[in-house]
């Protein structure tokens, strides 16, 4: 296996060097700035994130920053903060408190550099008529003059970061996987855009970039993570990553920060003192579509 890998890497690097040589004469020395073409060739031959060496990752992160600078004129910082030991993230949502303001959706879009041209939102808030749990009766596009509307209750849904993720199982090229802290991530540079993961997901949590995301330079959040909110290209999937760029540094996800009613509780499932553990141990919690067997890490509960 080791031999295979190293010979493959050698082959890929050789090809990169050769292509760069053909493209730019002998101009690919390290001091000179890389051209857009050299960068896209290098991205094309780039390995899967899970098997990259530290040096390769460093180069890849610099390449992401250069690309955003070139395309949007914005200086971003692209990091790859690793999972923190003894942390497994989980989320609990208080349905008694959610009033359907959709502030979480807005905050998510701007924190995560989601394209503004199509409704690419990684959180959906469903307006549900009272007296039913049937999702087929939900309204995804409610436009109530005032929330909460007296006829509805509200059900926000995003990626449940399952322990047995159907999406990871479906991906034909291992472009998506579950990290040690429980977050299911995508290597946007490895995804081939077949959308089989979104077919498999029971929570409709995966979204496709049907075209290049429409982002204005002043809308870009410059604090990014390679597996999280860095600006995406056309033709790849994306999803909620529990704001990996924030939460791995001890901050809260944008959706919880934005929630005006305090309905959202994010935390470390392995910390007995955490609020989420209190909720799981003291409230009647339930999980959506538990019968699908994907072991989600997202719970819902009521106050009473």
């Amino acid at each position: 296996m080791v031999d295979n890998r190293s010979s493959r890497r050698g082959f890929l690097q050789g090809t990169v060097a050769l292509t760069a040589l053909l493209a730019g004469g002998c101009s690919s020395s390290k001091e000179q700035p890389k051209t857009a073409f050299e960068d896209s060739v290098a991205t094309f031959f780039q390995d899967n994130y899970q098997v990259m060496t530290k040096d390769e990752i460093k180069e890849v992160l610099a390449r992401v920053e250069r690309r955003v600078k070139r395309e949007y004129g914005v200086d971003i910082k692209c990091e790859n903060t690793p999972p923190v030991a003894d942390v497994a993230f989980g989320y609990a949502l208080n349905l008694s408190k959610c009033k359907g303001t959709r502030r979480c959706v807005e905050a998510c879009v701007s924190e995560n550099n989601c394209g503004r041209n199509h409704s690419l939102e990684n959180i959906r808030v469903l307006a549900m008529p009272h007296g039913t749990m049937d999702l087929n009766k939900s309204d995804h596009y409610y436009d109530h003059e005032q929330v909460p509307n007296s006829n509805d209750w509200y059900l926000p849904i995003q990626c449940h970061q399952c322990d047995e993720p159907a999406c990871v199982q479906a991906c034909p090229v291992e472009a998506t996987w579950k990290e040690k802290d429980g977050i299911v991530v995508i290597d946007y540079d490895w995804c081939i855009g077949c959308r089989y993961c979104s077919v498999a997901c029971p929570y409709w949590a995966r979204h496709f970039n049907w075209s290049k995301p429409n982002l204005q330079p002043d809308e870009i959040n410059p604090k990014t993570h390679y597996l999280g909110n860095r600006p995406r290209e056309a033709g790849v999937m994306e999803k909620c990553t529990f704001c990996i760029q924030k939460t791995r540094k001890g901050e809260l996800p944008a959706c919880q920060e934005a929630c005006p009613t305090g309905a959202r509780v994010f935390g470390n499932l392995l910390d007995p003192q955490s609020e989420i553990r209190y909720i799981l141990e003291n409230k009647n919690v339930f999980r959506l579509k538990e019968e699908q067997g994907t072991q989600p890490n997202f719970w819902y509960f009521y106050d009473v």
């Binding site: 295979n4 493959r8 082959f11 890929l12 094309f44 899967n48 899970q50 098997v51 199509h118 690419l120 959906r124 469903l126 049937d134 999702l135 087929n136 009766k137 939900s138 995804h140 849904i157 159907a166 199982q169 479906a170 991906c171 034909p172 090229v173 291992e174 472009a175 490895w190 995804c191 081939i192 855009g193 077949c194 959308r195 089989y196 979104s198 077919v199 498999a200 997901c201 029971p202 929570y203 409709w204 979204h207 496709f208 970039n209 049907w210 075209s211 290049k212 056309a234 033709g235 790849v236 999937m237 579509k289 699908q292 067997g293």
Partner: protein
Amino acid sequence: MSKEKNSTKNHNKVEFILASLIHCFKGGWLYWGWMLSLIAIVVYGAMAYGQQARYGLSVTGLSDQITWGLYIGNFTFFVGVAAAAVILVIPAYLLHRNQMRRVTILGESLAVAAVIVAMLFVTADLGQPLRFWHALPLLGKLNFPTSILAWDIVVLALYLLVNLIILWYLLYNKFCHKSPVVKRYFPVIVVAIILGLSIHTVTAFMLSGNPSRPFWHTAILAPRFIASAFAAGAALMIILFQILHITSKFRLSKGLIREIALIMVFAQFFSLFLLGAEIYTAFYHNTAHDVSAHLLFTSNIGHDNLTLSIYLAIAAGLSAFSILMVRRFRENVSLLNIASILIFFAVWSEKGLGLVIPGFVPTPLGEMAQYTPSTIEIKVAIAIWAVGAIIFTLLAKVAIAIEFGGLRLKRPVENTDTEI
């Protein structure tokens, strides 16, 4: 083995390839008209694909709600055609019908063309088609055996390879004035038959293995796929053989047609029976599991076109079956042709579009959605069909010239051994 012998063999192979290529350029006005129109269609479709490559899949009618459509629908259909093309040669060996054996080569050609068409449809559906190498062994990171899509990639590639090997063996030997040795290629045919069943089963599993999509999540999807593939594959062969009978040196016997028509009757019966079983299960109760089927058959979310086409497909399938059931009708060439065309249309519509699209509605979050393929999508799809037609025409032209037309190596080979 001596060097001399080796070089003669290589020389023969070069001559085989050259003679085949040259033969592709020999044809009357009908042949050239046909080929040039196909090429024109391909160029036209390639331009449409250029738009898609440039602006992304947003130029299609697809969405996050209905994420697969015309492309994947055609993919599932053509995997079926590819599978059937080879499986239909089973009777040739199991029943020792000499009639069927002569058409093996045409079946193989159809399989090769159909697999390539299926692969092109998947590629057209990719957001990042240039990254296809991520799925290659050693270079990429194929998620095998976990991902069913990875299985599909593996079995389709193997199936294409095996059929090309069989075609090469049969044609090259004939070309070199040797008769192919059944003992040698029969095991490979068995492998091809197993792979034929595999490609369609795996494609069915790719859909049925999603508990989040109850419309597909049914154990009879794979048998249903196989049954309808046999029916559609047989129908296509009946039509193609008759066309080749008129336009080439290929000669069709009545016995052969009868044989294939009989397979078509049985396949169509099972196909309709399984569809009926699905409809019963979906409609006897009104569970959340059955909503997609209810929407499809009752059209209450503006699936209008789809609902119309599923009813037309069922009507066409039933009328074709009624024709085929009666021996006198089945043996009447024009009625048989009508039945074949009806079945081909019915299966394409029912398995291609009528199965893939309704599976997405409602979405796992209960959203209703609609899908109409865009003009660009339709152009690309037609162009891929045309590519398939070109490949089949060329393969069949060379195959018929060698099998029936006496296209042979100029110098006769001294009969040393039959090995190649």
